[in-house]
Symmetry: C2
Subunit: 337 residues, 2 copies
Amino acid sequence: MMAKTVQTIEDIARLANVSKSTVSRALNDSPLINQETRERIQSLAREYNFRINAPARNLSMRQSHTLGFVSYACSGKNFSAENMFGLELLGGVSDGLRPLGYDLLVVPVEPHDTTWAHQYLNSGRVDGFVLTISTRKQKMINELVNMGIPFILWGFPQPNSSFCTVCGDDVTGGRIATEYLIRTGRQHIGFLGGPMDEIEVKYRHHGYELALQNAGRYLDPDLVVYGDYSHTSGITAMKRLLEQKPDLDAVFVNSDVMALGAIQYIQSCGKRVPEDIAVVGYDDLLLARYNNLPITTIRQNIPLAGKLLAENLIQYIQTGVVTNVNLPVELVIRKTA
Amino acid sequence: MMAKTVQTIEDIARLANVSKSTVSRALNDSPLINQETRERIQSLAREYNFRINAPARNLSMRQSHTLGFVSYACSGKNFSAENMFGLELLGGVSDGLRPLGYDLLVVPVEPHDTTWAHQYLNSGRVDGFVLTISTRKQKMINELVNMGIPFILWGFPQPNSSFCTVCGDDVTGGRIATEYLIRTGRQHIGFLGGPMDEIEVKYRHHGYELALQNAGRYLDPDLVVYGDYSHTSGITAMKRLLEQKPDLDAVFVNSDVMALGAIQYIQSCGKRVPEDIAVVGYDDLLLARYNNLPITTIRQNIPLAGKLLAENLIQYIQTGVVTNVNLPVELVIRKTA
DNA sequence: ATGAAAGCGCTAACAA
DNA sequence: TTGTTAGCGCTTTCAT
């Protein structure tokens, strides 16, 4: 039995005794085609296992029907460590894209390269970009906005410029983490943040303060330190915190990876988690769940975030509608607090 | 200042006072073009920030210049848990591809779908596929081979059929893990494998036996159990092992994720790692390094693997040369053994 | 070494 | 509702 494979819509047209355009219309569910012809052609296409040629279609339509997922590339590390979060998001975006008929292209970006956007967009390889944590530096975003590049950001919107975003509810995240610590009887609750200038970090800190104030607690600046989301910075920031406040008995850490570092330092001091010091992380990555001492953390809904990033960027590309969505977070209680 | 942007090679041709073909040749470093014209055109292209249109080029050349990275898609989980390894590999492949002028497309595959290969290949979206763990079921591989689909596999070659592969040296991995355990004085060393029918697992087991035999040890079948790479299976397999051999004092586990599960079970029995039972994992994922009790493990060179997967698949596509490479592994000593 | 022209497979404006 | 035709922007014979 020979493989029933047909190469072009012209082949189908011949088999169906119609013109190329009719086939094109039928395959694209055009409204101005006869119900019956449409079905005949579609079943023919199915029977012959026909796949429409993407380059040709994209060339003709001046659209690639693919989105670029941007991440830093540096010697095999473009998807690691601090980027764990972005990595898990990739799966979500990819899943969100599928039902919409779009593809996902990996766009590795060199840290100081500013041409990548034009490179991928002008060459017609992608229609827009999904930016995740660590690629969303302020300067880069401003450039993208100025250049009119279609993109969506995992993060907060900016007051003065308008682009699509999806973010987590960081104020609530910071608040419920801290409330839980208060509720479980902790007296001196530290805040171990991500980079101090990031808006997310500010919101989480705000939530932290809110919880403390509602409980009538004093806000001690010595309880607040910052890191950069890395494992190492979790260690050093925890060290600093403990030096400033030796009687600390809990800490809310802005990422699971930093929390791992913090826990490591705490234990190296001979203190126990959670007995002596309770730790709450952020993100709920796999390594939080699988850590040998499973981490109590604030879960971000990563699959949903991916889905919305995909859907809303496509919507923006097609209609120009700018959306900004804020996703709920959730406390996951495990062993560290 | 207006943006100097030019859309097509025809625009460049006009500016350079040459024909489209000449521009095309110049941009592609064709040998039959004048050195001087080439440079003139290239600098013009640079100056005007010109990017060649990919769909047009791909259509004309009948090549997409992109590779598909295949992974299971199932409700946001296509890149998680058991797939951690594949996830880290994605970064390596992406980096390996860049210098070669190829792009990486994410190809999410539904577990029982068998049409994805044709779908992506016949539509001209990719020129070939990179298959990683969990997408490389025997049946699927055979189908791909029969259909003549270009792909490269992370895994071992098959004796009877010929396709490109990159794999780790699992025999050595199993051997050096076990040797280390022997060297550090362990008497009853267990083997907690991945799926029993996987060739990798057989090789690792072979290395385990080799080390034991070389040390003049008896091979006790009760010391050998199997899981499926999942965290849960690490827990249950460890339970079984401990029931069969209560005096066990070490275990070589076939993946870091399973090792995490095994450690969790061991500790839940009130035993200590590594004092009572030493654990060696496999892969050296980030969660092995960042685990709160950092895991002693066999490192696979993931960035190198990614680079070779990329390079060798492209070579195969372009020349038909089939390569099979076996990468060295390395023992990383941390806290669990 | 360069140009002219055909064609890659598709969509879409226009005609029928 | 369907067909005809003209591109989309590139590569590549075939001339020159």
